[in-house]
């Protein structure tokens, strides 16, 4: 009964919204502007993304506007408790992504003497395209001392090898790594935070929050229907991203049969990097230098020497002075697939501002997120090039890093995250 009530509580908002849309027809004719009117785009932004499927949602899903990312340490030694949590999480995730409360009773329908099984801050909010994407870190398989913690060591994919140290890394261990991660993306930040908060609560005693990160604006498009957003350098980011409509997803994104252990087939490897941008010095840099460093124009995002944002990068092009139009050390050249045997990444990073740094500067930057079939052939060689030669490094500090194996999708209510791994 509680479930029905709680369903109503979240559904009521959607029903009301629906009424609003219906009302548009009537009021639009009068030319009146009504605050409750919603466009088709707004309806879409509020809608639900299916949790169940062949692949996990939140990878090729058109990048939502907001992020709350969390990494957990597993604190139990009991494998069964961990498996039970993954089951409970999957159930709660299916509910929350559908716009329902985390638990069956709900935020306001239980007995007064008991704490609610949903924290309540998403009451009245639509699903907002919430996706929850789970990954397993290398340390889940073997800890720092090499111990096989849960009898999983044999199942660790070779592709989940610790990332090498890149020149210039100034990583803070306390905000790096993790045994598990959950990426929550939504078009409403409150919905994303609500989801992480409730998962963390369900995990008490089994997992502990190691670090978490908010992202206030997407910096990538993962669908051709989306306009390319800008990062905090003010440049369009993700123009040449791997996108849902691309025909090489099997080659670039999804783990294929035979790549490694079967439990990862249909999954994808996730690399996260928190990149502080020294925006104060960047902002004092001339427009010409900014564009030279990136290799694209700041306005349209077109490659230097070309005219349209989506023009294919021409690395051979030379300017009137005989110099390459795109400098030898420009960011887009160093990262280009032609420099890395065709390797690409599906990026879905987010801008962040974590307050200020005590020196009168914003603590701001990019929380970089990239999915791929094999980091050893994709992220690692690309980042090695960038770490060595990218002139942007002068304005960047890499402060956190994470690597996670995101298993394939949860198929249905009987399935749960990581079932094949723990089978």
């Amino acid at each position: 009964m509680g479930e029905r009530t709680s369903r109503l509580s979240r559904r009521r908002a959607m029903t009301l919204a629906g009424t609003g849309v219906a009302g548009v027809v009537g009021t639009a004719a009068l030319g009146a502007s009504r605050p409750w009117e919603r466009s088709a785009a707004e309806d879409h932004a509020a809608s639900a993304v299916p949790f169940h499927g062949e692949h996990q949602a939140g990878i090729t899903t058109p990048a939502q506007d907001r992020l709350h990312f969390v990494a957990f340490d597993v604190i139990t030694k009991d494998r069964a408790r961990l498996v039970a949590l993954l089951h409970d999480w999957s159930t709660a995730a299916a509910r929350m992504t559908a716009g329902r409360d985390a638990g069956e009773i709900g935020a306001v329908s239980g007995i007064p003497q008991a704490p609610p099984d949903d924290t309540g801050e998403a009451l009245g909010l639509p699903p907002s395209q919430l996706t929850l994407t789970l990954g397993f870190g290398p340390s889940l398989f073997r800890d720092a001392d090499g111990r096989d913690r849960f009898g999983l060591a044999e199942r660790r994919p070779a592709a989940l090898a610790a990332l090498p140290r890149f020149p210039g890394d100034a990583l803070r261990p306390e905000i790096s790594g993790g045994d598990l991660c959950v990426q929550a993306c939504a078009n409403d930040p409150q919905v994303a935070v609500h989801a992480i908060r409730n998962l963390a609560r369900l995990g008490m005693g089994v997992v502990s929050v190691r670090w978490s990160q908010l992202g206030f604006g997407r910096t990538s498009s993962t669908s051709r229907d989306q306009a390319t957003p800008r990062n905090l350098f003010g440049f369009k980011d993700g123009t040449a991203n791997v996108k849902a409509e691309d025909d090489d997803l099997a080659q670039q994104l999804w783990v294929q049969p035979g790549d490694g252990p079967d439990w990862m087939t249909g999954g994808s490897y996730l690399v996260t990097r928190k990149i502080r941008m020294i925006i104060e010095t960047w902002d004092r840099t001339s427009l010409g230098e900014q564009e030279t460093l990136i290799g694209r124009t700041k306005g349209s995002g077109a490659p230097l020497g070309q005219t349209d944002e989506f023009d294919e990068l021409d690395l051979e092009l030379t300017g009137p002075d005989g110099e390459p139009a795109i400098a030898e050390q420009a960011h887009v050249r160093l990262a280009h697939p032609s420099q890395h045997n065709g390797a690409r990444l599906l990026r879905r990073g987010y801008n962040f501002v974590d307050g200020s740094d005590g020196l009168g500067r914003l603590d701001a930057g990019l929380f970089f997120i990239a999915y791929q079939r094999d980091p050893r052939r994709q992220f690692v060689p690309i980042q090695t090039q960038l770490a060595r030669h990218d002139l942007l490094n002068e304005y960047l500090r890499y402060v956190s890093s994470g690597l996670f194996a995101c298993p394939p999708g949860v198929r249905d209510d009987a399935d749960h995250w990581g079932r094949a791994l723990f089978a």
Binding site: P164, R165, P167, G168, D169, A170, I278, E280, T281, R284, T285, S286, E289, T292, L293, D321, E323, A327, Q329, G358, L359, G360, R361, A387, R388, H389, D390, L391, N393, E394
Partner: protein, 377 residues
């Protein structure tokens, strides 16, 4: 050190120096007035310049240091634009400075202990003085900065030599004292040094930017040994390599002529260095002598701007006034942290004091970032 440098990429930029560099000498005949070099008697508290009213042309000063501290001698034009200088005049030594001086009013300065504004004297140069044309002023900026680089590299070689000798002699205390001093000359001209991208990381690379397969060498490697273990018994080869790398970069730097645009960018980049590396204490993380580098970057930035001053004065006088104000402000803020002839350690400053310095650098760097566009007009 910066991980990489863009300056090299703009070296062939819009303002090619080739056409301008040729007209550096302004043609005034060499005319050191009768009586030979102008004697300068310097000690730890005085600076007696034998003549303060001279004729236009090439003046030769002979500075004798009878004090106990190492001193320096400068000839400044308006806004502390360095027209000539001699660094590192050890006690008991004499050095000569030849400097071409058109008619005008100048200041001379001795800097016992190599710090502060120095002991100043007015210097009047009489004769005919035609105002520089815009192109000539730009060319003069290039020449003026090149003189600055030469004076700094001379001292860099000498002080690095002393530092290396102390390391090889196993004299930890002396090496520690010389470390920030030798770096001062490096940090002042870093925009030039960074043009030679492969040498910069060898000389000034920080531990985390060293790539796998590349050896961690240079100042910071020796700094680490000096301040962490204090064991420099195996650092002789490292010291020799530092010296060789410094010799190589000095030879290259002296042959380099920076375009006015490069000067403008260099001035800004030196402040970026302060903002990202020195205020945070990242640069000298073992010795915590970051404020020495801070001061040197600031002086280097000021020297580059001073070289451009005639151009700026002509094209954007308001900007010059703003720069003077903000340079003075940062100098005052930094001056609070002086300790003897040197500086307090980074670790001795409170967060509030660091923030005050950071705010000062930001206030200065904003107007400095506008200089390049003025120069490129």
């Amino acid at each position: 050190m910066r991980t990489s440098r863009f300056l090299a990429a703009v070296a062939a930029g819009a303002l090619a120096t080739a056409g301008l560099a040729g007209c550096g000498g302004k043609g005034t005949d060499t005319a050191t007035a009768a009586g030979g070099p102008i004697a300068v008697k310097a000690d730890d508290s005085t600076c007696e310049v034998a003549r303060t009213d001279i004729a236009a042309g090439t003046a030769t000063f002979k500075i004798t240091n009878s004090g106990a501290k190492v001193t320096e001698f400068y000839v400044y034009a308006d806004g502390d634009r360095v027209l000539g200088e001699v660094e590192n005049i050890a006690p008991g030594l004499s050095r000569e400075l030849r400097v071409e001086l058109p008619a005008g009013t100048y200041q001379t300065a001795c800097k016992p202990g190599m710090s502060g504004k120095g002991i100043r004297n007015a210097l009047t140069v009489s004769g005919s003085a035609a105002p520089l044309t815009a192109d000539a002023a730009l060319a003069d900026a290039t020449d003026s900065y090149q003189r600055y680089v030469k004076s700094q590299t001379t001292a860099l070689l000498e002080k690095t030599g002393e530092f290396v000798a102390a390391i090889k002699a196993g004299d930890v205390a002396k090496a520690k004292a010389l470390y920030p001093v030798a770096r001062t000359y490096w940090e002042r001209i870093e925009p030039v040094a960074e043009i030679f991208g492969d040498l910069d990381p060898k000389i000034d690379g920080r531990e985390e930017v060293i790539e796998e397969g590349m050896e961690f060498t240079g100042f910071h490697r020796i700094e680490k040994d000096l301040w962490t273990t204090g064991d420099i018994s195996k650092d002789g080869p490292l010291a020799d390599r530092l010296m060789a790398d410094i010799q190589e970069i000095v030879a290259k730097a002296n042959a380099e002529k920076l375009s006015p645009l490069q000067l403008a960018n260099g001035a800004k980049e030196l402040l970026d260095e302060v903002a990202t590396g020195k205020i945070t204490g990242e640069e000298d993380r073992y010795s915590h002598t970051d404020l020495w580098d801070f001061s040197a970057n600031l002086e280097g930035s000021k020297a580059a701007i001073a070289a451009l001053r005639p151009v700026l004065q002509n094209r954007a006088p308001d900007l010059v006034g703003q720069l003077d104000t903000e340079f003075a402000n940062v100098e005052t803020l930094l001056g609070k942290h002086r300790a003897g002839d040197g500086w307090k350690l980074h670790t001795a400053l409170s967060q509030a004091e660091l923030k005050e310095l950071s705010d000062g650098i930001n206030a200065l760097a904003e107007p400095i970032s506008k200089v390049a566009a003025v120069v490129a007009k």
